[in-house]
């Protein structure tokens, strides 16, 4: 039996139970790692399920992924450049409104997403009922209710991860539409972005970040591409500004 290794990242707002879920899945076999060049630490751990080996990465909790802080930059760079096979967005089921903001940001960055509704026990206590099926339909990705601390729903989550890496789940992430003005700019910018960075990165998301003047992302791309490409990345930024 062949064994494949997959990377699964855990993203979410602070205090939503990411590390708790991480520990449930990996046992105590975790160690901490440094994202190159950064002092911010994230934890890495491993587990095996259905003959596949998984590397779990516990990202710092953030309210956003626009890299307003070192934590946000670490989480964002991992999702974009680390290219995890699956990104699990851990949401606090008792505060969905706030948590969905980050979920939507992640869905703009990658389509291999599983939304995990954690703290379902708390939600039940508070009389909050969530139609996970309906939410999955709206978001276009699987939604799995769990209670990490009580180890509830973990089996269903593992099955979903397994099905996703085996290609048995086709996701269709919701696309957030912006004002006509922004959408028009994007229409012009996206082909340019694809020319420069290829299909390996989410062009729509990159275009949005460029329109927003996101210099830290631009710098991350400079580092990634050989110097000859710098000019083109600059050109891309230039055309973003001129649009």
């Amino acid at each position: 039996m062949t064994t494949n290794e997959y990377t699964v990242a855990l993203a979410g707002n602070p205090n939503t139970g990411k590390s708790t879920l991480f520990n449930v899945l990996t046992g105590l076999s975790q160690h901490t790692g440094n994202w190159p060049g950064k002092t911010v630490v994230y934890a890495e751990g491993f587990f095996t399920y259905n003959h596949n080996r998984y590397k779990m990465v516990d990202l710092p909790g953030t309210y956003s992924l626009y890299s307003n802080s070192a934590d946000e930059e670490v989480a964002r760079n991992f999702i974009i450049f680390g290219k995890p096979d699956v990104t699990i967005v851990v949401l606090d089921a008792t505060a969905l409104e706030r948590n969905l903001n980050l979920a939507l940001q992640v869905l703009e960055m990658t389509s291999s997403v599983i939304v995990c509704l954690n703290l379902m026990d708390e939600a039940k206590k508070k009389g909050i009922r969530i139609d996970a099926g309906k939410l999955a339909e709206k978001l276009g990705v699987p939604v799995v209710p769990i209670s990490a601390r009580n180890k509830e729903g973990i089996d269903a989550l593992l099955k979903t991860i397994d099905a996703m890496v085996c290609g048995k789940i086709k996701t269709k992430p919701i696309v957030v539409r912006y004002s006509p003005e922004i959408e028009q700019c994007m229409e012009k910018l996206i082909p340019r972005v694809k020319e420069v960075i290829g299909d390996a990165y989410p062009a729509r998301w990159v275009a949005l970040r460029l329109l927003d003047g996101d210099m830290s992302l631009l710098h991350a791309f400079y580092k990634l591409f050989p110097s000859k490409k710098e000019a083109t990345v600059y050109a891309c930024d230039g055309s973003a500004k001129s649009i």
């Binding site: 707002n13 309210y63 956003s64 307003n68 606090d92 706030r98 903001n101 927003d212």
Partner: protein
Amino acid sequence: MPSVKLQRLSEAEEGEHFRIEKLDIKDGTMKRRLLDLGFVPGCEIIVLQKSPLGDPTAYRVSNTTIALRKEESDHIYGERICDDNK
């Protein structure tokens, strides 16, 4: 329904509820950050506690406690809802 005069979040007192109407902020990064933290038009927040010097102030926003400085709360406009109205 009578129209209400909008007030700044920074004017709300401890214990008061406040319904956010708009964020009047030119600085895109600050606006984005406040929205990400949950200071979204339409939502109701609670003024938890002012620090001894009056700044920053802690707010209850969508189930989380978040502290803002006056330079941030000055730009958030809405309606103060005093507790006896509740």
